[in-house]
């Protein structure tokens, strides 16, 4: 009951209407009920309305309805337990998965650090036996051909570019690296792509370059 009602001890019609339902269902305190009953004397039509509501609800068993509601909901606790167990099992599965994957992830990181998944640009891909100890391709007949053609002419024609191919032993490590890098520059995307299917391409391109070199040397030799 609010202060104004306490002071007046009477209710307006609209105030009484708002309390009518609680009055019928016995939800008013003793004090509120006394005030409401005084209002009913003032508004007799509300009394008949209260009687009508009481009579209509007399045939309805509220307690029975609540019992059936409880019965309908009885399996909820079981389903919640199932849901919680399922969530718990899923959590355990995730934890086990992570625990199993952790060593694999560490192994992958170590492998990536120590064995990068890229081809070493200083060593062309392909059969290792096709390269000499300096990492250069072993080409059958090249030495004899160079003897016949004359190394000086060839070197003059081709400049620094093929020098490491012609006589790598006379070059410093830095020069060898520079020459290798130059040759591999054009094919670096193949090398760095890291796709197995492209691994052979650098070698193909590499040998194509060498073929061009042979053609050039042959041309010089024929002069």
């Amino acid at each position: 009951m609010n202060n104004s009602e306490q002071h007046r001890n009477t209710l307006s019609r609209s105030e009484a209407e708002l309390k009518l339902t609680d009055f019928v269902f016995g939800r008013l305190s003793a004090e509120e009920q006394a005030v409401f009953e005084a209002a009913l004397d003032e508004f007799p039509d509300l009394r008949s309305e209260a009687d009508q509501i009481r009579s209509a609800f007399a045939g309805f068993d509220r307690q029975d309805y609540l019992e059936r509601r409880k019965l309908a909901a009885r399996n909820v606790s079981v389903h919640v337990q199932e849901g919680l167990s399922s969530a718990h099992r899923a959590g355990q599965r995730n934890r086990r998965f992570l625990l199993r994957m952790a060593p694999l992830a560490v192994a992958c990181i170590i492998a990536v650090v120590f064995f990068p998944p890229f081809n070493d640009p200083t060593v062309p891909a392909g059969d290792e036996s096709a390269f000499n100890e300096d990492g250069m391709p072993v080409l059958d007949g090249l030495d004899e051909f160079l003897q016949e053609a004359g190394q000086e002419n060839i070197a003059e024609l081709l400049g620094d570019y093929p020098a490491n191919l012609l006589d790598g032993s006379e070059l410093s490590d830095g020069e060898l690296d520079a020459a290798d890098a130059e040759i591999l520059l054009e094919t670096s995307w193949h090398v760095n792509a890291g796709m197995p299917v492209l691994d052979f391409l650098p070698e193909v391109v590499y040998e194509d370059e060498l073929q061009s070199l042979f053609d050039g040397v042959e041309h010089v030799a024929s002069l």
């Binding site: 209407e17 269902f25 609800f57 909901a73």
Partner: protein
């Protein structure tokens, strides 16, 4: 008096959940409120299976944060909000499913799961009074059920529904008058 006892029960459950046997407290918590949550979900979703799923989801969400419940509102107010949010999400998902024309398949699957006993129980629960309640505007229906069956205070219902106490009293009065008329006339099927 019942509310006071219920509050004491909730407080005991909360204390047990935080400081004692959490599993036992969780089970007691669900059992104490399962009919309230299920009935709320059923009113929103109008489908027993969906209401069961929504109740399960609502309780799992509530239990996940029960330890952090600060008591700014009553447990029932808090649970009601969670349940209504879960039901709204479920309704949205159902709408999307129906837009994707998968609803028919879902209904088919559900009908396979439903046993004759369940169907009978469903029918018994959703009796004449539910047909009457279904004829009320949603706000009047919610106000009536929360006040008449769940015996919540107007202040709690006001927090749940976001309506003023005066407005709730008017809704309760109108709903009761309408129900009385329908009960007397028997014209609600």
């Amino acid at each position: 008096m019942e509310n006071v006892l219920k509050l004491a029960g909730d407080q005991a459950i909360l204390t047990e959940f935080r400081e004692g046997d959490a599993d036992r407290a969780a089970d007691a918590f669900v059992r104490a409120h399962q009919d309230f949550v299920f009935a709320t979900a059923l009113r929103y979703l109008q489908d027993r299976d969906d209401a069961g799923d929504a109740s399960q989801e609502a309780f799992i969400k509530a239990l996940a944060s029960l330890g952090n419940f600060r008591g700014e509102s009553s447990i029932r107010t808090w649970l009601y909000r969670i349940t209504v949010n879960v039901c709204s999400s479920m309704k949205r998902r159902k709408t999307v499913r129906s837009m994707l024309s998968l609803d028919g398949i879902g209904a088919l699957l559900r009908s396979r799961d439903s046993t004759p006993e369940q169907a009978l129980e469903d029918q018994n629960f959703r009796d004449n009074f539910d047909l009457i309640l279904a004829q009320l505007p949603p706000k009047q229906r919610e106000t009536f059920v929360l006040r008449y069956f769940d015996e919540l205070s107007y202040e709690e219902i006001s927090q749940m529904l976001g309506t003023s106490v005066g407005g709730l009293k008017a809704n309760y009065y109108q709903a009761t008058k309408k129900i009385a008329q329908l009960l007397e006339s028997g014209n609600y099927e």
